[in-house]
């Protein structure tokens, strides 16, 4: 009776995921971010329903070019008479997919490499993986991405690859560090003792216990991947026209800064809000997964 009372409500029966979700739900910023992401994802998925690609997004009406925001075009039109709002809606597809796919590439490669490097500490496997990581990490991300895109040619897939590849070192390092801590735990010893295969130990016992730092890094990395991707597009190394990638919309609005600043304002806001949402969720997740960090 007395004992039960003493068990703090925090520890009352709830799965770990449930516990994290409970903490996350209390974080208003994270929930707002999550809501924005869900809305953006819905917009991206249903972009085809919302706007017609051929007429609204890439169809040009030159007589309507460079119109300031009005009732007909709430965000105005661009230099080829295309409705900026429609293009922004469709552009969510590119920004989100580039961010997500790029990070997915980085996660798959980075986590596997990181797990092996962390598990086979001290061996040649770790040496090779970590030296390669050092080399990749030694080149500033943006430069690396630029060189890769320049070599492969500018298109959406290559954009994803280049942003993804430059994110790999972070995941290798994060995973390795997490694996190193987990590998020291006794249940891994016992798994080894009962003779489970090493691959099984890595993927079944170690990785699931390393998830929190990886999840946090994924969310935060998606946001920077979106910025990197739109930066590359801004430099003309991204999604080829006429696709309405936000970064390239901003870039094309650059020539019309004076007098037509709305052309850069709205894509800029769109990028910022998306990135902000991912950052807020990432922050919230970090706090929720690691209560120590919270005040």
């Amino acid at each position: 009776m007395v004992k039960e009372k003493l068990v703090s409500k925090q520890y009352r029966k709830r799965s770990r995921a449930g516990e994290v979700w409970h903490r996350l739900r209390k974080n208003k910023g994270a929930m707002a971010g999550l809501a924005i992401i869900i809305i953006l994802a819905l917009i991206a998925i249903f972009a085809d329903v919302l706007v017609d690609y051929d007429t609204d997004v890439i169809g040009m009406t030159l007589k309507d070019r460079l119109q300031h925001p009005s009732k007909a075009h709430i965000m105005g039109t661009d230099d080829l008479g295309r409705d900026i709002f429609s293009r922004l809606i469709y552009g969510s597809r590119f920004s989100l997919s580039v961010g997500v796919v790029a990070v997915a590439i980085a996660v798959v490669v980075g986590v596997i490499l990181g797990a092996f490097a962390g598990y086979y500490t001290g061996g040649i496997v770790e040496d090779i993986i970590m030296r390669f990581t050092d080399i990749f990490a030694a080149v500033p991300n943006m430069l690396m991405a630029i060189v890769i895109v320049a070599a492969l040619g500018a298109n959406t897939l290559n954009l994803m690859i280049s942003v993804g590849v430059t994110s790999i070192p972070q995941f290798v390092r994060t995973t390795r560090a997490a694996v190193l801590t987990v590998t020291g735990q006794e249940y891994i010893e016992s798994a080894r003792a009962i003779g489970e295969s090493e691959t099984k130990i890595i993927f079944k016992h170690i990785l699931p216990n390393c998830l929190s730092p990886i999840i946090v890094r994924v969310t935060l990395r998606v946001s920077s991947a979106i910025i990197s991707a739109s930066s590359l597009s801004f430099l003309g190394l991204g999604v080829p026209a006429p696709a309405p990638e936000w970064g390239s919309m901003l870039s094309s609005g650059r020539a019309y800064l004076r007098g037509y600043s709305y052309m850069t304002l709205f894509p800029g806001l769109a990028i910022m809000i998306t990135v902000l949402a991912f950052n807020m969720v990432g922050d919230g997740l970090r706090d929720a997964l690691d209560p120590k960090l919270k005040k």
């Binding site: 007395v2 004992k3 009372k5």
Partner: protein, 336 residues
């Protein structure tokens, strides 16, 4: 003159920690006083509110979440709680010093120990840097550390040595009151004795009063003039060393003694107090000890016990004494 004998007087101090969705009543209506040159031992389990009481004296309770709800703390005739931040800095370290529980973490790792001692001197004695450092070296010698080690960093010292450094910091400006918050708990037993001896010696040398917080009755027996026992934020019994050790009145105090091993009879089983201290966010209406108390009656759960005085300085808070016949069934304990 009589009034001046009392150095520290804490009256009806109540401190809460106000968290997001709950309030911890850490200290509830605590009153205590210390005379000049005397030592008061404050005993109790972890979480009883001993440290909070001590921090309140220096007005160091972390705010938020800590709030001093009511009470008055008079130090040398002045109310500490009414002092401004700046005035407080003149009291801390000068009039009252404090030694903390864990010497491992109570020294700043990035400054040399000499600098850390000298800092107090520079603030209170207005010494310049080199003079302060010299004095710091002297202080180190006093606590038994070679003065030339003043240029070393805390991580180069062992736990016992660190606590000596902490003591040196505390005593650097000759405070009138030293608050020692479990000064030896984190140390090895052999080192404990050394540090304790050092403190006793220094106390004598400087004629300080001391508030010694501990849960170790042995230390109390060795060093204190008076003893106050805290439970769930309240002082439930207070008296001189002899009164408490020989004629403990409160069932909790009694329980504390009973849970000590008997050196004379090693085969005797320990008699721990059953149960745990109540959740400080949900204290019962009546006596906080009632759920664990072998003597508890129905009224104990309902009524908050009053202080019952047993002449002179000895009192306890227990409803059982409403019955004048009540006595604790006491076993003889030989304790030295």
């Amino acid at each position: 003159m009589e009034k001046n004998k009392i150095l520290l007087d804490v009256n009806h101090l109540t401190v809460n920690y106000e968290l997001e969705d709950e309030t911890v009543e850490a200290v509830r209506d605590v009153s205590l006083y210390i005379e000049r040159g005397k030592t008061l031992g404050l005993v109790g389990e972890t979480g009883a509110g001993k440290t909070t009481t001590a921090l309140a004296i220096l007005n160091l309770i972390p705010d938020p979440p800590g709030v001093i709800k009511s009470g008055k703390i008079t130090l040398d005739g002045e109310n500490v709680l009414e002092k401004s931040m700046k005035e407080m800095t003149h009291i801390r370290g000068k009039e009252v010093s404090m030694i903390f529980q864990d010497p491992m973490t109570s020294l700043n790792p990035v400054f040399t120990v000499g600098d850390q001692i000298a800092e107090a001197l520079m603030i209170h004695e207005k010494l310049d840097k080199s003079a302060a450092f010299k004095k710091a070296q002297e202080m180190l010698e006093i606590v038994g550390i070679p003065g030339e080690r003043a240029g070393e960093y805390p991580h180069q010292f062992s736990g016992g040595m660190k606590q000596r450094v902490v003591i040196a910091i505390a005593l650097a400006c000759n405070p009138q009151l030293l608050i020692a918050d479990e000064p030896t708990t984190a140390l090895d037993v052999t080192i404990q004795a050394q540090v304790l001896d050092l403190m006793k010696e220094l106390k004598k040398r400087y004629g300080m009063a001391m508030l010694l917080i501990t849960h170790d009755l042995g230390i109390i027996a060795e060093t204190c003039d008076y003893v106050a026992v805290m439970y769930a934020g309240q002082i439930i019994e207070r008296g001189t060393l002899e009164e408490i050790f020989n004629t403990a009145r409160h069932p909790y105090t009694e329980g504390l003694f009973n849970s000590l091993p008997n050196i004379a009879d090693r085969k005797e089983r320990l008699k721990p107090i059953p149960g745990l201290m109540p959740d400080p966010t949900k204290l019962p209406k009546g006596c906080a000890f009632a759920p664990r108390c072998p003597y508890a009656s129905a009224s104990c759960i309902e009524e908050m016990p009053e202080e019952v005085h047993f002449g002179g300085t000895h009192f306890c808070r227990c409803n059982a004494y409403k019955n004048p016949e009540f006595r604790i069934e006491r076993e003889d304990i030989v304790y030295e």
